[in-house]
């Protein structure tokens, strides 16, 4: 059945990426009339997750480029630009298309699985068991994102799994980074003296007073660690894995990063990180769901034909098919910005690789969710490697999805080569203990966070950046909050949504509208309830 969209809103949000979705949820939450549309048939834009079949078909950008239309008193800008598109570098299978002999008795799939003779055909048949992120994210257990999910009560839409180990590459092999107290003390890679040194250092990073870092204002974190007489191994663990720094990172920044890591330890698991079940693409949907629950109107797969501005360049509305829809404010993702308006180009890219592999980079009795922080070597930037198993709901049993990414300097393949070569089998069919790559996908994604994205030319128009290099969503949340506060300067940003038990629904006379939600949400007892649940923290 075809429905027409309503034709008048307070705010129209175009694109369902992370920043857009948070703004949409926040606006709906305070009672604004929100229209949230996306030209794609899926949620998430550049932040989405795909099954195997659909990720192999994602377009790099296929928009038409009509010309600017001038009507009486109004200008209609066309939608979209090609400055911020993904650039696919290569996508390859490293296994045969099918296995004719085996395919005869298809019913015997259990046997085939056991033999691990994967073919393209077999993987594509279970395509929907894959949820492959374009922009994989982890969440610091006490980071801004987790705190926002809890304070806004959006956490109920998602499930998480904790990262079970953190690895680094040290002296030519993978090493488990001892990051919690119990890890430090159970590690046999770290001597007793080192254990004490490490604990002392970590404690002083967290609790240290100003004097601890006096004189290090202009110096590097590495020099601080050296002055503390840490052994080389320990410096490696702290600098590259725990603080995720480079050799040039300044001391105070390194201390901050160490704090961010340590502060999230001991809340939900052995490491400071959580990962969203079924992929990071679920997260934008959680915010969209909240927006819809509070009245936001959703339309995916929506053809968007133009943005309407008046002669003073104030936003008036959009054209959707043949329909004109008016609103006061427009929030859109960067790639939707009219080409005529984009007077800057992306200079920064993220080099990304995604692999399907046949076993873990470091095999263990049980399945792990692994974060590997591959240190910078020979002027190559550090790489983040995230390995996901079937327990995350992102790939079938027996396989792993591996994401590798870094700041781009040359191109995705060259930027990641040194890391990839060390972790995986070099050639197809070569048998050693390293995992084989069954499928590989290299692409470049624009990193637009560092750019100034004020839309000065167009009034009442706000632009949302795409995914960045941060491990978590902190910059996205910050940007969304900034946009929200610029539009609704005195409103509360995502106050806690009430639980169903707290909602009292009016009876026959009130058109199903629910009163009471606001007042209830403010009751301190409820707040206390939530925080007390969170107070059961494991003192690792």
């Amino acid at each position: 059945m075809e429905y027409d969209l309503p034709s008048d809103f307070d705010i129209i949000v175009v694109g369902t990426g992370m920043v857009e979705s948070i703004v949409s949820a926040a606006a709906s939450r305070i009672g604004k009339r929100v229209l949230h549309i996306d030209s794609n048939s899926y949620y998430g834009g550049l932040w989405a997750s795909f099954n195997l079949d659909s990720i192999s078909k994602i377009p790099e950008g296929n928009r038409s480029q009509p010309v600017v239309e001038n009507k009486e008193n109004e200008i209609v800008y066309p939608v979209g630009n090609d400055v911020f598109d993904l650039r696919i570098h290569s996508q390859k299978w490293h296994i045969p298309e099918s296995n004719p002999e085996k395919d005869v008795d298809e019913s015997d799939s259990a046997v085939a699985q056991e033999e691990h003779e994967w073919t393209q055909e077999k993987l594509l048949k279970i395509s929907r068991k894959f949820n492959i992120d374009l922009a994989p994210k982890l969440h610091f257990a006490k980071g801004d994102f987790v705190e926002l999910l809890i304070s806004s009560n959006i956490a109920r839409y998602s499930e998480f799994r904790s990262v079970s180990r953190i690895l680094t590459w040290l002296n030519g092999s993978l090493e488990i980074v001892p990051c919690s107290r119990s890890d430090v003390f159970s590690s046999n890679r770290v001597s007793v003296i080192e254990k004490r040194m490490l604990m002392k250092l970590l404690t002083s990073c967290v609790d240290g007073d100003e004097n601890e870092f006096k004189g290090y204002e202009g110096k590097t974190f590495q020099s601080y660690l050296k002055d503390r007489k840490l052994t080389e191994n320990l410096i490696h663990y702290v600098l590259y894995a725990i603080a995720m720094c480079t050799d040039d990172t300044l001391c105070l920044e390194g201390v901050e990063k160490t704090k961010r890591f340590l502060g999230s330890l001991g809340r939900f698991g052995k490491t400071p990180f959580l990962y969203s079940m079924y992929g990071s693409g679920e997260i934008t949907q959680a915010f969209c769901r909240l927006s819809a629950v509070f009245g936001g109107i959703y339309a995916l797969n929506q053809s968007l034909n133009g943005f309407i501005y008046d002669n003073d360049n104030t936003f008036k509305g959009i054209i959707c098919g043949k329909q004109r829809i008016n609103a006061t404010h427009l929030v859109m993702s960067l790639e939707k910005l009219p080409k005529e308006i984009v007077d800057f180009s992306t200079t920064e890219y993220i080099s990304r690789a995604i692999f399907i592999t046949d076993k873990s980079i470091l095999e263990d009795e049980r399945e792990h969710l692994t974060l590997l922080l591959f240190p910078p070597v020979d002027r190559k930037a550090a790489c983040v490697v995230l390995e996901l198993g079937s327990l995350t709901g992102t790939c079938p049993k027996g396989l792993h999805i591996v994401h590798v990414f870094t700041k781009q300097t040359v191109n995705p393949e060259d930027d990641l080569k040194h890391c990839v070569e060390k972790l995986f089998c070099k050639r197809e069919g070569e048998s050693n203990s390293s995992p084989s790559i069954l499928w590989s996908f290299y692409f470049s994604a624009p990193n637009t966070f560092s750019q100034k994205l004020e839309c000065e030319k167009l009034l009442n128009t706000y632009v949302c950046p795409g995914p960045d290099l941060d491990l978590d969503y902190d910059p996205a949340i910050e940007r969304a909050k900034e946009i929200f506060e610029r539009i609704y300067s005195n409103a509360e940003f995502l106050p806690r949504a009430p639980d169903p038990e707290e909602i009292i629904i009016e009876g026959e006379d009130n058109n199903n509208i629910i009163n009471e939600t606001e007042e209830r949400a403010e009751v301190p007892a409820d707040q206390g309830d939530v925080s007390s649940e969170l107070a059961h923290e494991d003192d690792t």
Binding site: M1, Y3, L5, Y43, N51, R128, V146, L149, I150, N153, A155, R156, Y157, S158, E159, F160, R161, S162, R267, F268, G269, L274, M277, Y278, G281, E282, Q285, A286, C288, R289, A292, V293, F294, G295, I297, Y298, A299, L300, N301, Q302, L391, G393, A497, P498, D499, P500, E501, I503, E508, N511, N512, I513, I514, T517, V530, E533, L534, H536, E537, D538
Partner: protein, 203 residues
């Protein structure tokens, strides 16, 4: 601890206007909401029922209007134990859309989800889809079938009780696919199914 032993997530899908919200409201609150107003702020409704002397909590999720422009989030289907697909027996197009809905369910819901087909509004005189057509469709797609009237409270209780009983049976047989023990629900509120030892660890 709360005083229920089982918690199941039930989600409703189907075209706009087939009476999904009315079914939920009839069951959870015993009323039939008049008018077409959207339900602002309601995520899901909860009702605790008793099956074989065990308390079973049903968490029933509605679409939040996202079905109107075919924009239901995939995450809506995740971890659902039962899925109710609703059409309006007096409106052929809502029946014709069922294959589209099934495709979406196949794609995003667990393969083990309990699926129920419901023809709603049997109080209406202008029926367009005969009962046997619905029955036939359900049988072909391996779904349980029921015709209901949220307005007259017909078969609504039966529908949800049937779901509770079936899910209990599955849970007893340890057949439930979802809510593996080690996922983290970061509020602990909406935690999970089965015995309390297994869920929502906040360690």
């Amino acid at each position: 601890m709360e005083d229920f032993k089982f918690l199941f997530k039930v989600v409703l899908v189907g075209n706009a206007g087939v009476g999904k919200t009315c079914l939920v409201r009839r069951f959870t609150q015993g009323l039939f909401p008049p008018g077409q107003g959207a339900t602002i702020g309601v995520d899901f409704m909860i009702k605790t029922v008793e099956v074989d002397n065990e308390k079973v909590k049903l968490q029933i999720w509605d679409t939040a209007g996202q079905e109107r422009f075919r924009s239901i989030t995939q995450s809506y289907y995740r971890s659902a134990h039962a899925l109710i697909l609703v059409y309006d027996i007096s409106c052929q197009p809502t029946f014709d859309c069922l294959p589209d809905w099934l495709r979406e369910i196949e794609e995003y819901a667990s393969s083990k989800v309990l699926r129920i087909l419901v023809g709603n509004k049997i109080d209406r005189e202008d029926r367009e889809i005969p009962t046997f057509v619905g029955e036939d469709f359900a049988a072909r797609h391996n779904m349980y079938f029921l015709e209901t009237s949220a307005k007259e409270a017909e078969n609504v209780e039966k529908l949800f009780m049937k779901i509770a009983e079936d899910l209990m049976q599955q849970a007893r047989n340890k057949d439930l696919s979802r809510y593996e023990c080690s996922t983290t629900n970061i509020t602990a509120r909406t935690s999970s199914v089965n015995d309390s030892s297994c869920c929502s660890k906040l360690t």
